[in-house]
Symmetry: C2
Subunit: 416 residues, 2 copies
């Protein structure tokens, strides 16, 4: 049994095990001088410190969180952290003024990461991914969705999905896998995207489903990648195999992706930088959760952030995620995403906390397991070096997360 006592703020997010929207987004269920009790890896009680202290037995391990915020571990609902290599050369080129699209046209971008990822063994890919899993944990992420999409052949996609599963099994970071075979048209199909789409539908989807390597299927619906019809085609097939859907839509251009997400009842529509009012209304009608990824706007030096305020006003249960990837968002740090949301997108600190915990958990179909400190849930929580949760949004560029607990056990090895 483990007790945490004297948190200056115990940020519980206690409440219904579902996504929150509207004014609920700011209801963090804060208990001052709060404490919690952990039994068998799960939270058994939350309350005032004196109440929790009264439940402790002589052998209970007690952690004094005085002067600290204690909160649920972050749930990062959109990442591509399993890849090989880096994109440092692309990065320098962007500093010299080249655009993401220009770099992609001359063979940089996703394609260069595909080449690097194909070239490594599963073991080498695992080594690289474990290091990044350590970075995520260190910055407070205890559950991460992770996508394939840098393989683009059956075997390479399966290799990535196996690594995602092994990260979940071999490190404290819980993973939820998404199959993203439709991330880009691979070079060998450059002039025949239809054949690649057929390969995804006829060969990849059945295999991934049979091996139970992913819960979600995603498509990069964008000019030059997969158009609306191809996207619909892939995702309808995915549904028939039992996958739930996440979608990359309206990042660089407004191609009607948000409306398609609504039509298909996707769990999430992600990016949405270019989505218009009609798209937002469509998402609201179908209760699709928007996943906002300000890290990629920042890192690309773009100015147009997704319109979070309009989405919140429309009643959408917004999520914030890192988009951790080597090209457009090389960050493992949810606190940085919270800073971006508040300073660049005018979300409140409280909204940003809900968007990175309970709402993200709900989008991954895990709201009964994680995302809040409700009794019965996994004891995934953070002890942060600040007295007020708003400081997590206020101080930027470094992490206030000091201790990370997963299923009640402190994570001590972040090296992977």
């Amino acid at each position: 049994m483990l007790a945490v006592l004297h948190a200056s703020q115990l940020v519980t997010l206690a409440g219904p095990a579902r996504a929150r929207s509207g004014p609920e987004l700011t209801e963090l269920g804060i208990i001052s001088d709060g404490g919690l009790l952990v039994e068998n890896g799960r939270i058994s009680r939350i309350g005032k410190s004196d109440e929790i202290a009264g439940l402790c037995r002589p052998q209970t391990e007690v952690i004094d969180a005085g002067g600290c915020v204690v909160m649920p571990g972050f749930v990062d609902a959109h990442t591509h952290f399993v890849f090989a290599g880096d994109r440092l050369d692309d990065f320098e080129a962007r500093a010299r003024g080249e655009s993401y699209e220009q770099i992609a046209r001359r063979g940089g971008g996703i394609r260069s990461t595909v080449a690097a990822t194909r070239a490594v063994s599963e073991e080498e890919l695992l080594v690289q991914a474990k290091k990044r899993a350590g970075w995520m944990l260190q910055n407070g992420t205890t559950t991460a969705e992770a996508k394939s999409g840098y393989g683009l052949t059956i075997e390479d996609e399966l290799k990535i999905l196996r690594v995602i599963r092994r990260i979940g099994a071999e490190t404290p970071l819980q993973t939820v896998a998404t199959f993203l075979g439709a991330h880009a048209i691979p070079d060998e199909f450059r002039h025949d995207s239809a054949s690649y789409v057929s390969q995804i539908i006829e060969q990849m989807l059945p295999r991934v489903a049979r091996e139970e390597l992913a819960e979600y299927c995603d498509v990069f619906c964008e000019h030059g990648y997969f158009d609306i019809d191809q996207t619909r085609h892939v995702l309808k097939a995915a549904k028939q195999h039992g996958f739930k859907l996440r979608m990359h839509v309206d990042q660089l251009t407004n191609g009607g992706g948000a409306r398609l997400a609504a039509e298909l009842n996707a769990a999430t529509a992600d990016h949405l930088e270019q989505t218009d009012a009609d798209g937002i209304a469509a998402l609201a009608t179908s209760q699709v959760q928007p996943v906002l990824l300000p890290g990629s706007v920042y890192a690309l030096g773009a100015k147009k952030y997704p319109n979070a305020r309009t989405m919140i006003d429309a009643g959408l249960a917004v999520i914030l995620a890192t988009d951790f990837n080597p090209g457009s968002s090389p960050t493992a740090a949810m606190p940085m995403i919270i800073s971006l949301a508040v300073t660049q997108m005018k979300m409140s600190p409280a909204e940003a906390i809900s968007a990175t915990t309970i709402n993200a958990a709900a989008s991954l179909n895990r709201a009964t397991e994680i995302g809040s400190l409700d009794p019965g849930k996994r004891a995934n929580f953070l002890i942060c070096d600040c007295r007020d949760y708003r400081e997590l949004a206020y101080w930027f560029g470094f992490s206030l997360v000091r201790e990370v607990f997963v299923a009640g056990k402190q994570v001590t090895n972040f090296a992977g």
Copy 2:
């Protein structure tokens, strides 16, 4: 004797002990599989690992930096990290859409931090500042300039300057103090700024000089703060007392501050978001170093970053700094500033490294002591969790700094 071996890149910045400009900014003096030797707290040799290994004696402590970048500690040339309280309420108000100026007018902003700082004892102020010094060290800053300016009475300004000195004496963070009595017009002089300027000149400057509590004098030259004539008046008096000059200019409006910095031969002109071509030309003529502070542009949600490329093209020896302060730039993290410089201001990663090490050291008159890994300098260096120095700019929102050494000793206690 201490040896560090097998750095994937030893980023030495070896070369002349002066500010670098133009193409020199990208000459980082990188030694692959590099090593260094420390004797009596100073660097005695740098070179290839095998060469350094050959100089080790049996009792030499050897650190294997395999797979890591080793580089000089960051020098943060513009901070206001000694203050009491925080500005969380202002921060939330900005997220709701209020401007920095609106918040200042209704009593928030600098004035609220002045009230909080006046209200605490020197000891309490020291406790708060030590925590932040720990954050800076943890993110790789080994020397920080620090300004007064939240006291605005003689005794409170002296209190802050004593805390700055004590941070340097009682923690591993080396400090360089700047007197910034002219940071804002205090409430009690709201309708009589001339009298406050007189008090600075006649009472504060002589006292700070006599007690040797600061090396530099600074003025916030801005509409609503101190105008050009008042600024000139204060700084000319400061010069007569032997202070060197730093200046806050052209942050919110272009008031001709850069030209005044040139006229007065200031060491630095800081901010410069609104500086025009004439101002840049004036700085170049007088060899004033520009201190660029992208953290405050970011945190205020503004869009106009200082024009680094034009300044570099004009031959200026640019510096990047955090502007660590509770209102407009709540960050302790130089890696975040490097990320901002590269992604938002189109500086190259190499330029950003020079701007945060040797150039910053030169602006503080310490280029013979710190800012590079040249033999003879203090052994202030970092071991970073990456193979390529460009990764320090690439990954963002968290720090790759793993171990920090000051005068050859590893910093182990960041808690203050």
